[in-house]
């Protein structure tokens, strides 16, 4: 079955996008439900799900573009950018699904609400970032240019964590 995906880029792209969008909705449904309270004074699940799906769809287009841009900016011309972007999207999707599973703790006890909001994304993004680096380093880079790739990955990771995890 994996061979079918390896031979069909369009099919893989659509499947990964669906995984990404559904993972994002699963991870953030409570946050969007709270937003409907702020806007409508009451919860509205369909609007919350629609909004999160829309945001996820837009992100699913932007993330591969951003990944390709970063590759070009770092002058890694030998890496197939479309494939690389798809792999990045796949790891984001995995991260959202795992984060969503961890957020289920809030359904049982709200005590961990705020700590979970800060710690769960950090833990999941760190693990996914490490795994992503390992996979892409094995696939596309050799020993000589690996340190350059590693340096840019570390910069991107720490910038994202500081902006989205600490300052947000």
């Amino acid at each position: 079955m994996l061979d079918k995906f390896r031979q069909n880029y369009n099919l893989s792209k659509h499947v990964v996008r669906i995984l990404f969008v559904s993972g994002y909705m699963f991870c953030t449904w409570q946050k969007y439900l709270a937003s409907t309270i702020a806007l409508l004074q009451t919860t509205n699940l369909p609007i919350a799900l629609f909004t999160s799906a829309l945001v996820a769809f837009i992100m699913s287009i932007l993330i591969p573009l951003l990944a390709g841009f970063l590759l070009n900016w770092c002058k890694f011309y030998n890496v197939p950018s479309a494939e690389y972007g798809l792999v990045a999207l796949l790891f984001c999707a995995i991260g959202f699904w795992v984060n969503g599973l961890l957020n289920l703790i809030n359904l049982f006890t709200p005590v961990f609400l705020v700590w979970g909001r800060v710690l769960f994304p950090f833990v999941v993004s760190t693990l996914c970032a490490l795994w992503f680096f390992k996979v892409t380093a094995d696939m596309y880079f050799h020993d000589v240019n690996l340190p350059y790739y590693y340096r840019y990955c570390v910069i991107v990771y720490f910038v994202c964590e500081l902006i989205l995890g600490v300052l947000a």
Partner: protein, 390 residues
């Protein structure tokens, strides 16, 4: 002459007493229904405060009823004065320990406020009537708060001024618990909200099988932009007078009515949408009557539950245990500590990242430039694309 003078004086006194809004025989306390009717009537002339002073005075003696001045701010600049009505029921024991029982008596502008919160104030009256002859080992203070709809002004002012002990027996430290009653008439089910974890106080209150504890997680959101009071999270049922007491680490029990099985992950008054009258002009006695709601029974249920809880032999130990069981709001609901943990973790990761960088730089000197050229996607063969039929 002397007899004539006495008769005239008695007659004048009788005439004066009959001139009071509620014409009761002297020293006769109104029943719950009479109190309810009189309170709703007093709303028509904005005389709720005086009505409460008079009615509670008949129960506990006018000397135990005072008015506490509260300054309300409309839209942040216009000032208005209102009053909390404070009713003290002293204990026969010589102690500063006290329990506060509160309900706000103001209502949304333009509304009759039958459910929100004539029901709560009436329950307060019934509790006062029951406790006025009780022999509890602690003092009881019943407070009808003003300014709740404008932003909990009455309850915040009361807590702030507790240190002076002018309107309470003791200070915040002497307060065993605070019971709040808000909107108990119209909702489908009666709930009590204590903490978002299991506590002895909640267990005691629910042991009488008259009210259910609010589900801990349902309706709780991590949404800083909705957090009006500084809890660190948002929950609709926190928007009432127990909040200032909770912030001072006083165990609270908030009685209300509603339904948590209607809206997704949120509170609603009733499964019947036409009965959702909270904060609207339809919050009237007529609306309650038309929907066949026995509000007096619900008021009586909550009042009886509160009295039973206070009268329970284990109450003192229960509130002591509950104080230990309360969630530390600063530790658990402030993002500062987890963010500090993240920053520390990032520093540790940065050190490991630097060490790994040194390692791969050494490998780069001795390593190969063999291009791995592994790609995920391969070109399909002709047989995969076309199918040939013989």
């Amino acid at each position: 002459m002397k007899k004539t003078f006495i008769c005239v004086t008695v007659l004048m006194l009788l005439v004066m007493l009959c001139g009071i809004n509620v014409c009761y025989a002297e020293n006769e306390k109104p029943t719950t229904q009479q109190f309810w009717d009189g309170f709703i009537e007093s709303r028509n002339t904005n005389a709720e405060c005086q009505y409460l002073v008079d009615s509670f005075g008949l129960v506990v003696g006018q000397g135990n009823v005072t008015k506490q001045k509260v300054v309300l701010y409309y839209n942040g600049d216009t000032e208005q004065i209102a009053y909390n009505v404070v009713v003290k029921i002293p204990s026969r024991a010589n102690t500063l320990k006290q329990v506060i029982i509160g309900a706000h008596y103001d209502c949304v502008s333009g509304s009759q406020g039958a459910n929100d919160n004539a029901s709560g104030v009436t329950a307060l009256y019934e509790i006062a009537t029951s406790l006025s002859t009780s022999n509890l080992p602690f003092n009881v203070v019943l407070v009808a708060f003003c300014g709740e709809e404008q932003g909990l002004y009455g309850s915040f002012t009361y807590v702030t001024e507790m240190e002076s002990r002018q309107y309470s027996f003791g200070t915040v430290a002497d307060t065993l618990a605070m019971f709040n009653i808000d909107s108990i008439a119209n909702g489908d089910n009666l709930y009590v909200q204590c903490e978002n974890v299991n506590t002895d106080l909640a267990n005691l209150i629910t042991s009488f099988n008259t009210v259910t504890e609010k589900p801990h997680a349902v309706g709780t959101f991590d949404a800083n932009y909705l957090d009006n009071w500084g809890y660190g999270y948002y929950e609709f049922v926190n928007n009432t007078d127990h909040t200032p007491f909770r912030f001072n680490d006083i165990p609270v029990a908030n009685f209300f009515s509603g339904n948590f099985n209607v809206q997704v992950w949120n509170y609603a008054e009733s499964a019947d949408k036409s009965r959702n009258t909270l904060n609207s002009d339809n919050d009237t006695v007529q609306s309650l009557t038309d929907n066949g709601i026995d509000y007096i029974d619900k008021i009586h249920t909550v009042a009886t539950t509160v009295v039973k809880t206070l009268s329970d032999n284990s109450f003192m130990s229960v509130v002591t245990n509950t104080k230990e069981q309360m969630v530390d709001l600063v530790f658990w609901y402030s993002p500062l500590i987890p963010k500090l943990i993240v920053v520390l973790a990032l520093i540790v990761l940065a050190v490991f990242a630097w060490l790994y960088n040194r390692k791969i730089k050494k490998q780069a000197i001795l390593g190969t430039t063999e291009v791995k050229n592994k790609k995920i996607f391969s070109t399909p063969s002709a047989e995969d694309i076309f199918s040939f039929k013989d």
